[in-house]
């Protein structure tokens, strides 16, 4: 069981953000404790990606604050987020298609030689190590990622997020393109990272895997938070009802 007595690792307080007239996220508050996996669920366009982008620095919220370890955090851009050891796997993967896996994995954080030049061999060696764990069948180390399959690309994006000792990990549908074996691998990695005390936001449309992997599930609809529930205390049907109907089931509302 996750200990939720201390200060939360992350607290999103009353976050709102609108694009033109569309309220993509509307006064949402969610928290995340060390070693906890919080699932984010909701229909397409519910605002899940937008919410976590405020934490990853891709967007700046209109109102509301982010607290990290109980202290207010200013996250204006992705660089700030990295400074707080927040790593993100974006739904769009955010890979530079013209570069190879190693260049993408280390993008913005290249290994350099004492002369300040990029150390390609060292980066490739490290990439081989991480990818060996994530996707042992991966061989295309010298091809641009545009030449990779959807799942291989996703593996590269996951490798990038888990390689750099994150404290807070955001995974936006990380297994959408993965085969069963690779998905299982990601599940194992999530368990492992959990044990290390890392907090994870996991966006996933599959209610069953949320129930299996997550400690709590937060459901959104039309930009608003429907509710946050302990996955052990609800059935998959309850969660589905929240996603579709947009309100907490009677027996949980209290």
């Amino acid at each position: 069981m996750v200990d939720r007595s201390g200060t939360p690792l992350v607290e999103l307080r009353d976050i709102s953000i609108a694009f033109g007239g569309v309220k993509a996220v509307d006064h949402v508050s969610v928290d995340l404790f060390p070693g906890e996996v919080v699932g984010l669920l909701g229909h397409n366009g519910a605002g899940k990606s937008t919410l976590i982008k405020c934490l990853s620095g891709a967007y700046r919220q209109d109102t509301g604050d982010v607290y990290i370890n109980g202290e207010k955090a200013t996250i204006n851009n992705p660089r700030d987020a990295r400074r707080y050891n927040i790593e993100t796997i974006y739904q769009t993967l955010a890979l530079a298609d013209n570069l190879d896996a190693a260049s993408n994995l280390f993008l913005g954080r290249e290994i350099v030689t004492p002369l300040g030049l990029v150390d390609e061999s060292a980066m490739e060696a490290e990439t081989r190590k991480v990818m060996g764990r994530l996707n042992p069948n991966f061989r295309k180390f010298n091809a641009p990622v545009s030449a990779l399959s959807g799942g291989q690309r996703q593996s590269v994006a996951i490798a990038r997020a888990v390689y750099f000792n994150a404290r807070i990990l955001i995974m936006d549908e990380p297994t959408a393109a993965l085969g069963p074996a690779e998905t299982q691998m990601v599940a194992e990695i999530i368990q492992e990272l959990k044990k290390q005390g890392i907090g994870i936001f996991l966006i996933d449309h599959d209610v069953h895997s949320v129930k299996r992997l997550c400690d709590r599930a937060a459901v959104m609809k039309n930009g608003e938070l429907v509710g946050v529930v302990d996955v052990d205390k609800v059935s998959t049907d309850d969660i589905l009802a929240m996603i579709i109907a947009g309100k907490k089931p009677e027996h949980l509302a209290a």
Binding site: P78, N98, G108, E124, A125
Partner: protein, 431 residues
């Protein structure tokens, strides 16, 4: 499809050889096209095209555009364009010309002071870099499209140059400054061989160190013989180039004047070759530095990543706005360098210097394989592109093709080159 089987197995073995050598087939294709072009011109002009004299002239004529083309690679790779390089060159040239003819003689006392040329050059480089950075700021921070910013710049800087010089030709330029122009500043035979030797050693060391670093990480390396063949080809190319430039003799009367200036009498039958021009040496240095920047530095990584996917670059924590400023600042710096070479070659600043250079520079980069969609391009490709363009132009002039036809051909070649590139990329499956 049965009739193609024999054919494809033949290509497979040939591919096998190229694969073992791990040479860039695209580069090979360009070099092949260039060689064919030279041979055709040489044939049509009764072997006048490939004389040492013409090779020398070709190389010094290429420098100015090639210098800027290396910077244009970065601009286009980041999905921008710079239409103002010719005008920026004119402004830098005007600034340097005015500095060395109107300002410095008063301060330093007299013409041809040893400090005049370096100071003028520094002033020009600072101005060029600053204007480039300003362009980059307009593009990166104010998010005005580069096309518009530099289209405006095309008019603005051309006329700033005019204003600075009242539209007059400024010259003759400082004697030391003219050393950058080509014919007036060469290394001489001995120094050229030394430079050639150093270049060969450096190239071989680079090959060896790349091999060693691959070995250290247990990555596959190509067979030793392939490495040796590659090294041999490179060495032959470098030394051959030096030999040709050394074979171009300084005219007798000029040599006599040089001896007279030193208060000596020229020995009977004395000859001396020009050797490598300083401007060509400068281009080689710039090419090496820019290639290292592109491949081995973070800046280069970020330039290519941003070109490949600007959003991904931004999300990876790269400050893409500042990067834009840097890329345009590098372009401005190279325009200034190019301005020094171009005006030194003419021995004066003229009002129309660099006119239409933006088109030549962009064409050189594109013929050299820089993709306008961004993310792809090489420095050596751009230089080779500039060389091909210049060879076409001077070759046709030598053959006596009328001026309008020259431009028609150059324009056609640009479009054709891009078409071939698209087909090549489709075939090889690269983007």
């Amino acid at each position: 499809m049965a009739d193609t089987t024999g054919n494809s197995s033949a290509t497979r073995t040939r591919k096998g050889l190229l694969d073992t050598l791990e040479v860039d087939t695209r580069l090979l294709g360009m070099i092949g096209a260039f060689v064919v072009l030279c041979l055709i011109f040489n044939f049509v002009t009764d072997a006048r095209f490939l004389t040492p004299r013409n090779v020398f002239n070709l190389s010094i004529q290429t420098v100015s555009v090639a210098l800027m083309a290396t910077g244009m690679v970065f601009i286009i790779v980041t999905r921008h364009i710079d239409l103002s390089v010719g005008s920026l060159l004119a402004t830098c040239s005007a600034v340097m010309a005015m500095t060395q003819t109107a300002i410095l003689p008063d301060i330093l006392g007299g013409l041809n002071h040893p400090m005049t040329a370096p100071l003028a050059l520094v002033v020009g480089l600072v101005v060029g870099t600053a204007i480039g950075a300003f362009n980059g700021w307009l593009v990166g921070y104010l998010t005005i499209p580069a096309f518009i910013v530099t289209l405006g710049g095309l008019l603005v800087w051309r006329n700033v140059a005019w204003y600075l010089t009242n539209g007059q030709t400024i010259g003759p330029l400082d004697e030391n400054f003219q050393l950058l122009g080509g014919i007036n500043g060469t290394l001489g035979e001995t120094a050229s061989w030394v430079v050639g030797g150093i270049a060969v050693i450096a190239a071989l060391l680079a090959l060896a160190s790349a091999r060693r670093s691959k070995r250290a990480h247990d990555f596959p390396v190509k067979p030793l013989w392939a490495e040796l063949v590659l090294g041999l080809v490179i060495a032959a190319a470098i030394l051959g180039f030096v030999a040709v430039l050394n074979a171009y003799d300084v005219p007798q009367n000029r040599l006599e004047r040089m001896f007279e200036a030193r208060g000596e009498v020229m020995p009977e039958g004395y000859t001396e070759g020009y050797g490598i021009p300083y401007s060509v040496l400068l281009l080689i240095l710039v090419a090496i530095v820019m290639t290292v920047v592109a491949r081995k530095t973070r800046l280069g990584r970020y330039i290519f990543a941003t070109g490949g996917n600007p959003d991904a670059a931004e999300l990876s924590g790269i400050n893409t706005r500042l990067l834009t400023v840097k890329v345009f600042a590098i372009m401005g710096f190279l325009c200034a360098l190019s301005a020094a070479v171009a005006s030194a070659r003419l021995t004066f600043h003229s009002n129309d210097i660099g006119t239409l250079d933006e088109l030549r520079v962009i064409a050189a980069a594109v013929i050299g394989g820089t993709a306008l969609a961004g993310g792809i391009g090489t420095i050596y490709g751009a230089i080779l592109g500039a060389l091909i363009m210049q060879s076409l132009q001077s070759g046709m002039a030598m053959v006596g093709v009328d001026a309008p036809f020259q431009n028609i051909v150059v324009g056609g070649v640009l479009v054709l080159a891009v078409l071939i590139d698209i087909l090549y990329r489709k075939r090889t499956g690269a983007k």
